[in-house]
Symmetry: C2
Subunit: 261 residues, 2 copies
DNA sequence: AACCAAGTTTCATTATATGGAACTTATCTA
DNA sequence: TAGATAAGTTCCATATAATGAAACTTGGTT
């Protein structure tokens, strides 16, 4: 899963360390990091010092625990604001979610995986970082497959190879061949389906968001459960889905950022 | 405002560059970054390459524009999840906001400024300057003053000195002396008020969130407008505010992070 | 076609990161 | 409580990576 082969010098090492702390998912001691670290004690120690002093990590000196720092949240807020996709798509997500009364996701591609950047759930309101920022597998989510399908052949094949397949359900795609065939099908259909491939009873229809030059900017999906709709019925959302996806793509292109803030 | 004196080597330079891109607030060209950069062309170029290859920056090759990268959003999501404050406080914010029917903010201290990490806005949404991930001044917001007031003396004085005062309204505190006096008052009262110091007609009552050892973990505020309440009436929320703040503080201490994810 | 600006690569030099080992706390154990 | 063990921190010669002046390439303009 973690294919970040090229080191990119010291900066790369520092950022990998951030990932390591993120992956653990809770505040962590020096020694715990050390056992899983490719670096010797002194090197790891200095990397942690640097990141802490920079605010990328927090350090609880009472308990001697490192955790991800507040500077990340600040930077991510700026990232979200200046992404051409998320702020533009907001009103369109509202509209789509309201019209269909179903959950809508907006995602972007991140190293072959899906990064969810926004979500609308008609029932419960959105809490910013609890939903946005989550990642999901590329090969067994609607958005993931939709985005992969419309990538340039070379990049697509490379990312397909990199998927680390895991059988979440009986329907999960678990081979490069299966996935490639599915992606070809998606290119023809213009939309991707998640046929309970990631979670039982959860199905979705998804489309890529493309620029005018057909570059993949992101993906859009409508998610529901088998209790509410069959896959066949879900296909009826195709028109609305594609319309919204192309609107977002068009807006993202012409978007001029506000002069100052 | 930007007191990040120590360079911390290459990693520090790279992170400063991220801040620079964030501050511009929109996708930006190489040359624009170069004019504002302390580094020569080649150095800046390689820093950008590294950050882009690491996913901390995105690069639109068609338009030759750099922007903050998706990896930041992923890391911030993890930061939010593993912060001891935000996930724990969630249900309590809901409860408080619902009970009082007013806007509730949760903040943390970041270099003397307030970083808002969560927000609850019941039915009537007041349009104002705050959202998760946003930062606000420490010296003229309720949360900021509440947190500063309860810091250890040495740290408090240092941060008070670092504030760059700007008179947003007629009531804004604009000197170190005024602020120090206000903070002393806040320590006695246990709560801080924002008396239209940041935005006209916006007032709030705020309290620090403290650990059992009286360390400042964050701040909590109830915000409203002068159209709805007077400052005096706002003081009636003190009991509920302090109760919720201390509940959050207690929970944050005992919180055991889930084993795995 | 010649020019200019923006972006990219090169390479010798310099500065920085590295990591083995010694050292200093904390924590456990008998 | 001493002694032992582990965890965290500092040191310093060496190796490695970052630097930046300059040359080069690319794309656009007159």
């Amino acid at each position: 899963m973690k294919i970040r082969n090229n080191s990119d010098g010291t900066v790369g090492k520092a950022l990998d360390l951030l990932d390591q702390v993120a992956a653990i998912g809770r505040p962590v001691r020096f020694s715990e990091l050390l056992t899983a670290s490719p670096h010797p004690k002194a090197t790891l120690y200095r990397l942690l010092q640097t990141l802490t002093s920079q605010g990328m990590l927090g350090y609880d000196s009472e308990r001697q625990l490192y955790s991800l720092g507040v500077r990340l949240v600040r930077l991510a807020h700026a990232a979200w604001r200046q992404s051409s996709l998320a702020p533009i798509a907001r009103p369109l997500l509202d509209e789509l979610s309201l019209k269909l009364a179903e959950t809508v996701h907006l995602g972007q591609l991140d190293h072959g995986q899906v990064l969810y950047v926004d979500k609308r759930n008609p029932a419960s309101p959105l809490a910013m970082y609890s939903d946005a920022g989550k990642i999901g597998p590329g090969y067994c989510t609607g958005i993931g497959k939709a985005m992969l399908a419309f990538l340039p052949a070379e990049q697509r094949q490379s990312l397909v190879q990199q998927q680390s397949f895991h059988r979440y359900t009986a329907n999960t795609i678990v081979s490069v061949e299966q996935l490639s065939a599915e992606l070809a099908e998606i290119r023809q259909q213009q939309v991707a389906f998640d046929r309970e491939e990631h979670e039982p009873n959860i199905i979705c229809i998804a489309a890529p968001i493309l620029s005018s030059s057909k570059r993949v900017l992101g993906g859009l999906s409508i998610t529901t459960s088998t209790a509410r709709y069959t896959l066949l019925e879900l296909a009826a959302f195709k028109v609305d889905l594609l319309a919204t996806a192309s609107k977002i793509g068009a807006l993202a292109e012409t978007w001029d950022f506000p002069e100052t803030n």
